[in-house]
Amino acid sequence: MSYRFFVNGDPVEVEVPGMRRLLDVLREDLALTGTKEGCGEGECGACSVLLDGAVVDACLVPICQVDGTSVRTVEGLGTQEQLNDLQAAFLETGGAQCGICTPGMLMAAEAFLATGAAASDEAIREAIAGNLCRCTGYTKIVEAIARAAEQRRSSGTAPL
């Protein structure tokens, strides 16, 4: 079967079995390896991506359900040369250690920031409750998200 959707704004078309996981299509068929596989069963959040703006585990989404949607991955945040504000905040606060959870953390955080909800410690922790960090570096990650939220609020880029 052929499936058409958008990845980071670009239209793509893949010819793959419909039950192939979005995670495998991204990594194997589209060579977008920023999205990581951790547990492969929806526990760890390492493969978090945005599907029409909602954060999902790419290991639990069959590609047949992605047809006609818009997917955003960590490659769609910033570039090597120009990180986005959230990525920069992770770098500045030490919110990334070994790095395996970072792409998923970024996408869960991005979904949270896009809601425009007040970035209290509790709200941030709930927003990343589906993302495990094996280095247990949560404090710095929460700090990074709070910093990005504050920057967006003060620069007026947060949605109303």
Binding site: M19, E41, G42, V55, L60, A129, N131
Partner: protein
Amino acid sequence: MPVEPPVASPRTLAEAYSLLAEALHRPVAGGTDLLVQITGELGDAPERVLDIWHLDELRGIVMESNALVLGALTTYAEIRRSPLIAEFVPAFAEAAATIGAAQIQNRGTIGGNVMNASPAGDILPLLLACDAQLVAGTAQGERRITVREFWPGYRRTALEPAELLLRIRIPLPAGRQLRYRKVGTRRAQAISKVVMALAWQPDGDASWRDVHLALGSVAPTPVRAPGTEAVLEGQAPSEAVADRAASTLASELSPIDDVRSSADYRRTVAARVLHRVLRDEGGW
């Protein structure tokens, strides 16, 4: 790599019915259970899959003559956001908030919770406590199944292989109260050790009528606790009543030891959780 069984993605209910009538298909909604099972590590993967995600007929939450009707594809995130749920059965929003985390809540559906038929299904005790009805359909028509008859055994449902779960109806008798509690290892991403729903009709003199107490993770299916309900029936939630109800519940349940918890723990915690709910209501 996971197995990739053939899948059909019908765009209408009629098309889905005819595919189901032709051959055995395993339906997939949000995939939060099925996509774990297609790894083949937990037993055989399904031979054929029916992707029902695009059936918009199965979405939405509406009010229908004293019942709240949820499409089978309603996600936990939608339940959390719904003004109707917040107004009439806020306990459902509380329950949805305990399921997985954002990633799971954006994909997991109430219909999937019902059809996966896990004894630990977080929404299921609420459905039992509310006397919900499950509406299933084929091309020949629809039928309603009362929730008490829906899970005849471990991981089994009352549906025929060619039937599709369409909607969940939650009757809303005026004034009926509903409470929900879940105990898991952590607040997010936890499969429950004990999950409880309690519903009752307040009487004029603070006593309770028509008490329904339902639990998950303590038996092969979600269950009611009739012995404990009888203790609570016609009583006000005093400390003496709570003591009796808690000890009755502990003796009435026969949970098992498994990887998540021990039978003793489950029995003790279920009794204590009930005691606390009654204390909260009694205000002592």
